[in-house]
Symmetry: C2
Subunit: 369 residues, 2 copies
């Protein structure tokens, strides 16, 4: 069996022990409620991860690209929600997938797009996007536009959907719970208005990883979407979605330079391998472009962080409280990422470990569009 | 012929007219000197672009990953400089490529890595990395370590190399020219010290796009490396490397939402398709995550910029001086990027146009490691 320390660098390492624990944590949080999880696969983009999350019970998923929809449908998961506002051209691709046996639903908040959905000869189910405070996409629960879009959709209307992305601005569980309640109440209110007008609203969908774990009530909600919780990252740890020990995916890198006089290391994970996401800059713990961690059995590196990120170089500021690490050029380290969705997007596979030492499996990802 | 406006989104669009002009500009700048261009392919990562840059004369290239080295060698370009500090494991891969007929040279600033290079049974040529002010990798021209690394390399020593990456901190041609002169003088000084000690230093290599275009003298330099100039981007335009009209590669995106009341558009190019690079934040012209431009024939969009970037959503702040754009969901726009090296890294191909309307060719990229 190949060992983590022998892998080419940079590479993505997925610790299946932590992944399973994160999946169990979400299942327990939602298990107290009568609500279904529709996992968002935009982070993992992997059929192997999807199977772990869905388990024997199966069920549907959420995706962010047509490439994901095509990939998961080809791997036997046909119940898919494409949760980014649809365009007429993408609608044609969805219709093709559905004609081939999938059941991909789309979302919209636009009257013209809604009319295009209704005009499809093969019906495509659509959810109306509701804005419950994020201010990105969606119509407000009380907006007149809600009824207009529903009218335009006609029999294609299958439900309502919201995403409290502004939960990323919360910094503790109480704040997340408050946003979760506003998310729930807003999307349920939209469903009620539509039902009062005689519409059938089968699906009432909400979700973000922070709110999914923090919500006190799911009254009126039929399904919850969340994705990043599976892997976790420095940002989610910083805002309290999970602990720092719950980060399942890291970037394996090699030391490519040593600067003892500056207390710096150079590694071969830079702006592409890590992404330039700096989410933790907005939190109490700024980790630069990532937090350096020792591979299994290596000496602790303390508060070592990637201070600068060039295309293929990361400049590591070593922990000032520790002696300069005894690492040679070629030695391996792990980097915990700011925002795993973006970091993983640069990599085409996961090297899966069950003990931090050996590579148990290699799982591909579906990138691009 | 397919048209740009019919392409799936997000996609990379490469305007060959601008690419050719940028290539000619660099050729003219270097043509006044007795110096060879060794184009850095880390930005384009495309054999088709490499062939345009090298032209009939051919010649060698620079790369930033082993994946690039393998790809270009397989496409007939064997003279390759791998310009990121080598590790023992990567050295083995280089040796394999060379055994198969390529001539990949490596760089180092580390005594142990130098000893590993010398220990290869099949010789691998190595350049010593010199720090001429960037403060990333490399030994100083006057450092004792320079001689120690040269000793460790023994007959594998082929030259010296420097990269004035701190030229990205310059904001006009005069500042760039001053950095270029320090870059030149520093790496030439390192070569002179080695020669005075009896070493053969065949290659004296310098380069960054800003300094390559601004340098007044290349005395003592044998080759210049540059890459981003081929495509250009908002950051290079902001610091004066080229003009805003010289950006050859943009991201085609679809409108996925309209917010007239907020003067905002949503597009389907977000943090993956554009990258989270915010280089222009440090310049006089902050373009957010990118500058929206009309497709050929579309109404001018003025100063419209991508204000926020979610994984697959870009939030566009439209030009406050213009009326809200008459764009429907599904209509196409182009986004000029902050930093094309990172933006392009998320895409697997270029859609090449010669008139801004039709797709003339599709060129693949070699991503990953």
């Amino acid at each position: 069996m190949m060992e983590i320390a022998e892998l080419p660098t940079p590479s993505l390492v997925l610790d299946r022990r932590i992944l399973k624990r994160n999946i169990a944590t979400m299942a327990a949080a939602l298990g107290r409620h009568r609500v279904t999880l529709r996992p968002h696969m935009k982070t993992a983009k992997s059929i192997d991860v999807a199977r772990l999350v869905l388990g024997d019970a199966g069920g549907g998923i959420t995706v962010s690209t047509l490439a994901e929809a095509e990939y998961f449908a080809a791997h036997g998961i046909g119940d898919i929600l494409h949760a980014v506002g649809i365009t007429p051209a993408k609608l044609e691709q969805v219709a093709k997938l559905n004609a081939a046996g999938a059941d991909v639903a789309v979302i919209t908040d636009d009257i013209d797009a809604a009319a295009a959905i209704r005009a499809q000869t093969a019906p495509v189910r659509a959810l109306i996007e509701i804005d419950t405070g994020e201010g990105r996409g969606g119509v407000g629960p009380e907006d007149e536009a809600l009824m207009a879009v529903a009218e335009a959709l006609g029999p294609s209307l299958a439900g309502v959907i919201t995403h409290a992305g502004h939960s990323y601005g919360a910094r503790d569980k109480a704040a997340m719970a408050a946003i979760a309640e506003a998310e729930r109440a807003g999307v349920v209110r939209a469903a009620e208005r539509l039902r009062a007008a005689g519409k059938t609203v089968a699906i009432v969908s909400m979700g973000s990883s922070p709110t999914a774990l923090a919500a006190a009530s799911y009254a009126g909600i039929t399904e919850v979407r969340a994705g990043v919780y599976m892997f976790g990252d420095l940002f989610q740890a910083a805002i309290g979605t999970h602990g720092p020990e719950d980060i399942a995916v890291t970037v394996l890198a090699s030391v490519i330079g040593r600067r003892a006089e500056r207390h710096q290391l150079l590694i071969d994970a830079g702006a592409i391998a890590l992404s330039k996401d700096r989410s933790t800059e907005a939190t109490a713990e700024d980790w630069g472009f990532g937090h350096l961690r020792a591979v299994e059995g290596g000496a602790a590196l303390g508060r070592a962080l990637v201070q600068r990120a060039y295309q293929e170089h990361g400049v590591v500021a070593c922990d000032p409280a520790l002696a300069f690490p005894a690492l040679a050029v070629g030695d391996k380290v792990l980097v915990a990422p700011n925002h795993i969705c973006l970091t993983a997007a640069a990599h085409d596979r996961y090297f899966v470990t069950d003990d931090g030492v050996g590579v148990a499996e290699v799982w591909p990802r579906v990138n691009g569009w």
